[in-house]
């Protein structure tokens, strides 16, 4: 079995994010990190490999992004992937969700995986959607926000929470599964794995290498258009204070509750 893990480099959570008013795109400069949700996807792949229900021949980390995105691939390899593929091309800049999903599907097609795993959301963009977009382009079954994966007779048995409670779904391979953060606790990479990550094979591919039609990606190939950026409606923000003397804090809370007739 071959597993591809889709990963993404995102701005570090601690860094203030902003939108570039000129290009109307998210300013992606500044500190970056591997999307924390994607580390759960890699861990899920590792647990399938270690679980023994299927022989996992290869775990491949795949990303699309600028040159700097190799760092996300190095981290993915340190976390357990055997090698990585970097789709990078100026023509991809400004791709919307559909164009991104199409491009990722093309690079995955060239890898022919039995299972594609990814995090259910990223801090900066295609929350919940990218897995299902990729799956339909690949003509594969898919499920998102999965919190448990088991292998049974070559099929996946997945659990997730939906609108009316927990659903259990049986899925044939190949499939695209996006996982929630409750699925596992990602391991910390060993120092040896971090040091060795840069030595693992990394393929860099352009749009032409995987048969991506240039007209279908980038800003020109996108089907959405940012027309404007506005501040949110003003909301009076509440009082926030630090607990220095807990007795005083409690008195303050009680007075606040009292004033609002909540006690």
């Amino acid at each position: 079995m071959k597993i591809c893990c889709l990963v993404k480099e995102v701005p570090d959570a601690a860094v203030q994010k902003r939108i570039d008013s000129g290009t109307k795109r998210l300013d992606r400069s500044g500190e970056k990190n591997l999307n924390p949700f994607d580390t759960h996807g890699i861990e899920a792949a590792m647990q399938i490999r270690e679980g023994g229900a299927a022989e996992v021949a290869e775990i491949v980390a795949v990303t699309m992004g600028p040159e700097t995105a190799v760092r996300a691939l190095h981290k993915s390899v340190a976390l357990g992937a055997d090698r990585s593929v970097h789709l990078t091309d100026g023509a991809l800049q400004g791709s919307d969700v559909n164009a991104t999903g199409y491009a990722l599907a093309k690079v995955l097609e060239s890898e022919q995986p039995d299972l594609v795993l990814l995090g259910q959301q990223s801090d900066d963009g295609e929350c919940y959607t990218i897995g299902a977009v990729v799956a339909d382009h690949l003509k594969m079954p898919s499920l998102t926000q999965v919190i448990e994966i088991k292998l049974e007779d070559g099929k996946l048995i997945c659990e997730r929470q939906a609108e009316y409670g927990y659903d259990t779904v049986e899925i044939d391979l190949p499939a695209v599964i996006s996982v929630g953060d409750a699925i596992n606790e990602p391991r910390y990479p060993s120092l040896k794995a971090i040091m060795g990550a840069k030595k693992k094979p990394l393929d860099t591919k352009g749009t032409g290498d995987v048969g991506i039609e240039a007209g279908e990606v980038g800003e020109g190939g996108s089907k959405t258009q940012v027309l404007g950026i506005n501040p949110p409606p003003a909301k009076e923000s509440g009082e926030v204070f630090e607990d220095e003397d807990t007795a005083e804090t409690v008195a303050k809370i009680v007075a606040w509750l009292d004033e609002r007739k909540l006690i």
Binding site: R18, I19, K24, L26, D96, V97, N98, G101, C127, Y128, T129, G131, A132, V133, A135, D136, H137, K139, M140, P141, S142, Q145, I147, R160, Q161, A162, E163, Y164, G165, Y166, D167, V169, I171, D181, S222, K223, T224, Q225, V226, G228, I229, P231, P232, S237, G238, E239, V240, F241, E242, D243, T246, T249, V250, A251, I253, V254, W256, L257, L262, I263
Partner: protein
């Protein structure tokens, strides 16, 4: 008719439609009125004629029912909606939020090669086309998104669209046959809507104490329970702690849980991520205790305390009990 809007109406399998879907139908009808087009609805499964026709009360003119298609998984619904949108010339698909709406909307985007906008909080009409408003960067900016081409997908944030009902409206119900894509048949529901853990009622409570990961461990829910008791309220929880098995699913608030609007919501160790926020932001008073000063909850609470809840909660419980006794 060009400009028309198709809505997916999620239901529980027994014909009870989801309120977020009914809100989306109301919104679609309002927008169709401005565009001079119509709002249609897709229903899958064997839902009764009168239940489908009653969607007219929210402004739907036509209900496309695919009886043979099972409710609960996204890809078969993508097949149905793609067919209806192409054959009946719908320009937009609108979803009221929730997990299935996200999945179906995303699949439909790929299938129709159309643009998608998610987490949408409002939709407006500009120059005869729909423009979706989407908050980004922890709601610190709102982006206006327009669509290129003849179709567009809009996935709302939970509770973004208000439900408007005009009693007596009836929609035309048409049955459709849809051949499913091969890959849509390769996922099968084994069990839908399983309830796990005790049954608790949080929707009717005036006061809720919500517990999040910041409680640290399962046993610390006792702190939230004691405080809720002193306040005369109930205990709610975030998805993270429910998935971790610390608290029953029935107490979960947010994207895949319940939506509440109590008089007081006391958030204990809850960061206030969007997925939770959408389920409780309409609470009259929000009080937050969290040790992380950068937690998003401090941006929309009415009173926020940056501190250790393990210290603050027991003392607060004690003070409230003393006040009650005194």
């Amino acid at each position: 008719m060009a400009g028309s809007i198709l809505v997916y109406a999620l239901h529980d399998g027994a014909g009870k439609f989801n309120n977020n879907s009914l809100g989306a139908i109301s919104e679609a009808a309002k927008l169709a009125g401005e565009l001079g087009s119509q709002a249609g609805v897709v229903v899958v499964g064997d839902v009764a004629d009168d239940a489908c026709a009653a969607l007219g009360a929210y402004g739907a003119t036509k209900v496309h029912r695919a009886k043979a298609v099972e409710e609960g998984l996204a890809q078969p619904v993508v097949d149905v909606m793609a067919k209806v949108m192409n054959e009946d010339d719908y320009s937009y698909a609108l979803f009221g939020g929730g997990l299935l709406g996200f999945e179906i909307g995303a699949g439909l985007t790929a299938r129709l090669n159309a643009g998608v906008t998610m987490e949408v909080t409002a939709v407006k009409v500009a120059e005869g086309k729909l423009v979706a408003e989407r908050p980004v960067l922890q709601d610190s900016a709102i982006v206006d998104v327009g669509y290129v081409g003849d179709k567009g997908i809009i996935i709302g944030r939970l509770n973004a669209f208000d439900l408007k009902e005009n009693a007596g409206g009836q929609a035309e119900v048409v049955d459709i046959e849809v051949e499913l894509s091969e890959w849509s048949t390769r996922a099968r529901m084994r069990q839908r809507g399983e309830q796990r853990g005790a049954d608790v009622n949080i929707e009717d409570a005036d006061i809720l104490v919500g517990g999040g990961r910041g409680l640290g461990e399962k046993d610390n829910f006792k702190l939230a329970e004691d405080l809720a008791e002193a306040l005369g309220g109930a205990v709610a929880a975030t998805r993270a702690v429910v998935d971790a098995g610390w608290y029953p699913y029935a107490a979960q608030i947010g994207q895949t849980g319940k939506t509440v609007a109590p008089k007081l919501y006391l958030a204990a160790g809850i960061s206030g991520a969007i997925q939770h926020k959408v389920g409780m932001q309409n609470s009259e008073n929000i009080l937050a205790v969290n040790k992380d000063p950068n937690a998003p909850i401090f941006e929309f609470c009415d009173l926020g305390v940056v501190g250790d809840l393990h210290k603050i909660l027991p003392k607060l419980t004690e003070a409230l009990k003393a006040k009650r006794a005194g």
